[in-house]
């Protein structure tokens, strides 16, 4: 078992999310930065979909009541185990009674803690992800609180090691983050000015940014003509433009249907960047084709697969 000592209610158990029940209104949920969760799982030889902790409120502290293996990935900041600092993207062993402390990150917004064997909670609708909005999955459908105890597999110690795969290295949060998006259904109904602004403006993430969605601040995006849309299915990454003209990015816990005009959909391969961008970050959107979107995702998968294989070889060499 591990015991949560310090947390915020927005910290939760997440895996890669629920698929297959969008048709009855079930959101995908899952990690906001799926890439970092997968890296954390790959480091431990887990299935990439194993459940870990998504930490967005800091500091976070937990105590190991048993020996276990874990990894810390995602946002970078001070991480200590029993007072000893751990480098970023590092997998290590904890002894019984040791405390892991995650300080507010210097770079990025969300830290992932994964455990060898994953966190053992009952899957709901095929996933262990917490749906905070609808109140199921994870631990009783809620965020973590002090005193929560979570079941992880007991594991003997291993030599600590790190991941060479470092997606965050390419991100400069002092400048607009490049995000790729595929033009969506109503893209052509926006005014020529609006379409130009969409891909040239440096959009600021407002304080209204959570697992459901991010509101962006920037110039008003106007439509050429009034549109009355009926409710339709939307996916995480959809950029809607409500009558205010200010875009909203729909994310992991978003509703499965919406009625606002959509200018673009952020590609799956770049959604992790959104997950690591907190309020005041800025986005610069680049339009890409569906083929480019899929090629980017395939490259990402190859990188994760390569990491998983390296870990396997390293572990067999280490004995």
């Amino acid at each position: 078992m591990i015991e949560v000592l310090t947390t915020g209610a927005a910290n939760s158990i997440q895996d890669l999310g629920r698929n297959g029940r969008f048709d009855i209104g079930v959101s995908r949920s899952g990690a906001m930065d799926r890439l970092s969760l997968m890296i954390g799982n790959a480091l431990l030889g887990n299935e990439l979909n194993a459940a870990g902790l998504e930490i967005a409120i800091f500091p976070f502290r937990l105590r190991f009541d048993q020996p276990a293996r874990f990894a810390v990935t995602g946002a970078e900041g001070a991480v200590t185990l029993a007072g000893r600092p751990l480098p970023p993207r590092w997998a290590a062993s904890a002894a019984e009674g040791e405390t892991l402390v995650i300080a507010p990150p210097d770079k990025g917004a969300r830290v992932y803690i994964t455990f060898a064997g994953g966190i053992d909670v009952e899957p709901v609708l095929g996933s262990r992800a917490t749906d905070l909005k609808s109140g199921y999955g994870g631990l009783e459908g809620r965020g973590l609180k002090r005193g929560d105890r979570l079941a992880v597999s007991p594991k003997p110690p291993m030599r600590a090691f790190g991941a060479a795969l470092d997606p965050l290295a390419a991100l400069d949060f002092a400048n607009p983050l490049p995000i790729r998006a595929v033009p969506a259904a109503e893209h052509s109904v926006f005014s020529a000015d609006a379409r130009k602004l969409f891909s040239r403006w440096s959009w600021r993430v407002t304080q209204e940014a959570d697992r459901m969605g991010y509101r962006l601040e920037g110039p008003e995006l106007k439509l050429e003509r009034r549109l009355e849309l009926m409710s339709h299915g939307i996916l995480p990454g959809t950029i809607q433009v409500p009558p205010s003209g200010k875009p909203i990015i729909q994310l992991a816990d978003a509703n499965t249907c919406g009625g606002y005009p959509k200018i673009a959909t952020i590609i799956e391969a770049d959604l992790w960047i959104v997950g690591q961008a907190g309020p005041e970050s800025r986005f610069l959107f680049t339009e890409v084709t569906p083929d480019e979107a899929n090629a980017a995702l395939r490259r990402q998968r190859l990188e994760i697969d390569a990491l998983a294989r390296t870990v396997e070889v390293a572990r067999s060499l280490a004995g």
């Binding site: 698929n19 297959g20 029940r21 969008f22 048709d23 009855i24 209104g25 079930v26 959101s27 709901v124 609708l125 909005k133 609808s134 109140g135 199921y136 999955g137 595929v182 033009p183 969506a184 259904a185 893209h187 549109l227 009355e228 849309l229 009926m230 409710s231 339709h232 299915g233 939307i234 996916l235 990454g237 959809t238 509703n255 499965t256 249907c257 919406g258 959509k262 959909t265 952020i266 590609i267 799956e268 084709t289 569906p290 083929d291 480019e292 979107a293 899929n294 995702l297 395939r298």
Partner: protein
């Protein structure tokens, strides 16, 4: 029967097929159901989200290239015949008005009806589930008496309680969970519309018939 449609990409692995009209059409919706059922067996397609006169079709780009998926969807739509779906009938008992139906009287007044009459007309209707979505188990119901329609509130409420019987625009619905909503609350039911731990989590499915019955009216 060749209503103008638009097909567009929602990212790299989903297509949205939608009617160009902004008026809900029952025949069109029956073709949407038919397409959704056809796509279940279509190679490369993984999931569908039928909406109101539209459908979002998810595909696996490792199995079917985006342009091929678009072509496939276009062809299957052309062949989709209205599916004469009439599902189960579900009765939903409603307590109209009172503390749990705070918009009941203003809504009746807006419709130019006495409160009791408004409740009776709401309960006299035969509604059909057009789609489930937005939140788990939320039914988009067609069949609201046009005289009972009311524009949505200009400011949505942050928490409309589970079980609230609501109207918004020309649509009727019931809240499956407590959530923000801009629809008007006319009553309350005890029927649970969603339970993630049941074999079939959603009480209602597209094509189902819904009848509201009057349990009580607070005048």
């Amino acid at each position: 029967m060749r209503e103008p449609i638009t097909i567009s990409f929602s990212g790299g692995s989903a297509l949205l097929l939608q009617s160009n009209s902004s008026r809900f059409d029952e025949q069109f919706q029956k073709r949407i159901w038919s397409l959704a059922s056809d796509l279940q067996a279509a190679p490369g397609f993984t999931e569908t989200v039928p909406g109101m006169n539209n459908i979002l079709a998810l595909f696996n780009p490792d199995e079917i290239a985006p342009e091929q998926a678009r072509k496939e969807l276009t062809e299957r739509w052309a062949k989709a015949q209205p599916l004469p779906r009439r599902g189960k009938t579900v009765e939903i008992p409603v307590v109209y008005g009172g503390q749990n139906g705070e918009d009941f009287k203003p809504w009746a007044r807006h419709c130019g009806l006495a409160p009791l009459e408004a409740a009776q007309r709401h309960a006299a209707g035969t509604y059909q589930v057009a789609a489930i979505g937005a939140m788990p188990g939320f039914p988009y119901l067609s069949g609201l008496d046009p005289a009972l329609a009311i524009a949505r509130r200009s400011t949505p409420r942050l928490a409309v309680p589970v079980g609230s019987v609501i109207v918004g625009g020309a649509q009727a619905a019931v809240m499956p969970q407590t959530s923000p909503s801009g629809w008007h609350i006319i009553g309350r039911t005890n029927i649970a519309l969603f339970d993630p731990h049941r074999d079939e989590p959603s009480t209602l499915a597209p094509g189902d018939i819904v009848r509201f019955t009057i349990e009580d009216v607070w005048l």
